[in-house]
């Protein structure tokens, strides 16, 4: 296991929590992003994720460094799964420990926002009547009303 990784197997959040727990940590936040069945009125059948793995892991490391600079006493671990994921599967996990809980919440939310901005991972939604790469509006199936 690496502290920042792209994985193909199901994510066990506890491994990431354990990675950041240490005697001086009073609070740990573990965020998991799950595949949701309904997004803006459209039913997802499954998702597939693709990554530029080597760069994605580097970017996650960079986000980890940003966090440990902004919230000096935190420790961070994160992972993103790629491949085919089904409803309620965990796509991403972010664990942050901190002596005090406030930083654990803030840093965790920062991490997911940064990941969504800059980590080269792409999601393709598969519906009953089509599929599209999220972020590419022109590839949405016709006749659907998505208000992203």
């Amino acid at each position: 296991m690496k502290r920042f990784e792209v994985v193909t197997e199901p994510i066990d959040p506890e491994r990431y929590r354990e990675y950041v727990v240490r005697p001086e940590a009073g609070g740990v936040t573990v965020f998991t992003g799950h595949v949701r069945e309904w997004t803006k009125g459209i039913r997802t059948v499954y998702l597939s994720f693709e990554a530029y793995t080597s760069m994605a892991e580097k970017m996650m490391e960079q986000i980890g460094r940003e966090i440990e600079e902004k919230w000096p006493e935190t420790r961070v671990a994160m992972a993103h799964r790629i491949g085919e994921l089904h409803i309620s599967d965990i796509a991403v996990v972010i664990a942050v420990s901190s002596p005090h809980r406030k930083a654990a919440y803030e840093a965790n939310e920062y991490a997911i926002e940064r990941l969504k901005e800059d980590v080269p991972i792409w999601k393709k939604e598969h519906w009953e009547n089509g599929e599209y790469w999220v972020g590419h509006q022109n590839q949405k199936p016709k006749g659907e009303d998505i208000n992203e």
Partner: protein, 77 residues
Amino acid sequence: MNKVLYFANLKEATGRKEEAMDVAGMTLGQLEENLAERYPNMTMTGVRFAVNEEFALRDEVIETHDTIALIPPVSGG
């Protein structure tokens, strides 16, 4: 030689995930024009470039052996 990488919708539009090209000396912006001509159905809206796994701006000059990746809008999480 350089390597150019395509992901997600760009991989589908170009029909390949990577190709070898000799583009050293060009800027990324010039490479972009080049590729847009070659793959007319490729959507460049919001695409960023990475050189050797780091984001880079359009005016960066490509060096020999650089690996160039086209990074369409990311959607992880």
